[in-house]
Symmetry: C2
Subunit: 232 residues, 2 copies
Amino acid sequence: MISVVIIGNGNIATHLKSAFLRVDRIRVTQINSRKLENIPESDITILAVSDDAISDVSLKITNSFVVHTSGSSSIKDLKNKSNKGVFYMLQTFSKDKEIDFSKIPFCLEAENKEDYLLLETLAKAIGVKVYNINSEQRKAIHVAAVFVNNFTNHLYKIGNDICEENKVPFEILQPLIDETSQKIKTLSPEKAQTGPAIRNDKKTIKNHLELLNIEQQKIYKILTKSIVDGVN
Amino acid sequence: MISVVIIGNGNIATHLKSAFLRVDRIRVTQINSRKLENIPESDITILAVSDDAISDVSLKITNSFVVHTSGSSSIKDLKNKSNKGVFYMLQTFSKDKEIDFSKIPFCLEAENKEDYLLLETLAKAIGVKVYNINSEQRKAIHVAAVFVNNFTNHLYKIGNDICEENKVPFEILQPLIDETSQKIKTLSPEKAQTGPAIRNDKKTIKNHLELLNIEQQKIYKILTKSIVDGVN
């Protein structure tokens, strides 16, 4: 039996609690971060609070092993005097959407092997993909995630804007979006690249720029230049 | 029975020919674009040649109905004296990879209704998603495709570079990439946006910039600014 206390009531706290509740050998208690009295001792105390609150909240906890769930915070941001760790799930969480934990990478960090193995047991009770990731690596993953998730989504938005302006349904791009995201499972992104930039096809690039507004042109130019030059 | 002549021997010509061969009511002949003698008359003559060759090759064809397969060329780039049209498939084609035509959007254009219906019949013999798209719209789709395919793939490359520098396997980002590409099937990209830029979380943005090289910083800054401002 592993006893878990989850502190917080955002998306991550809610989804984690639901997942743990389905596992017989885990006993889970959820606590509002503004009511930190009488926290029961537990094997693992998970702080699922905003990045800014990690230090303050952890200061008030006397439990034996405290972990946070933040991609961009160091293990050192925890200020409890007991053992520290990180239980970071690399995925975007939406309130209403069911989470398939079997597809989520768990990035775990702890100060000693025993604590790490405990976190690993907890992660494997609800998931399958478990990685030992230190704080420097996790920060890098968090930045990389901004590129492949937030920035990619913004490129989808620009594609959507261009379609709307021309009365074309955005769904027409979805098969291409699917193929682009799946191709890199078997080919490195560098080898998967196609299009006018990698061919340095100046005529097509010029024609494209004429169709775009100034903001879109800026983005088109910098990404084309980066593909032509290679980013290193 | 529909008779089709395909001129060209690149990826599109090869994949199209294979697909047509599997349909009983289509008779297909493939011709090398450098050997334009004795072209048999046919219901539809498909020019699957490079954009630059469309005008020159079409000038030499006397068949009754000639279409090209280019996303970035106008129907007016065809210089045959007979009827003209466009048979554009919105997808990236790789030589070795089998194509699932049922998932590919066919963007069709013709000068008159009868020709359009013939193209539609041909497209529906191998595919299911058929759109009536004029030359202006097709050019816009082609630019939008560069954003959601080539530029997105470049963001994947940057994600891969960051992972490699930090000895993290790139596969760790694949579930997030999948989720990002699937989310927009049910939510507009604008509503699907998350992350530090949309929250204008300056502290995280500053921390991220410190981890990037100058080229990556430029791209990070311009995309973050575009998300913060909104691109219109």
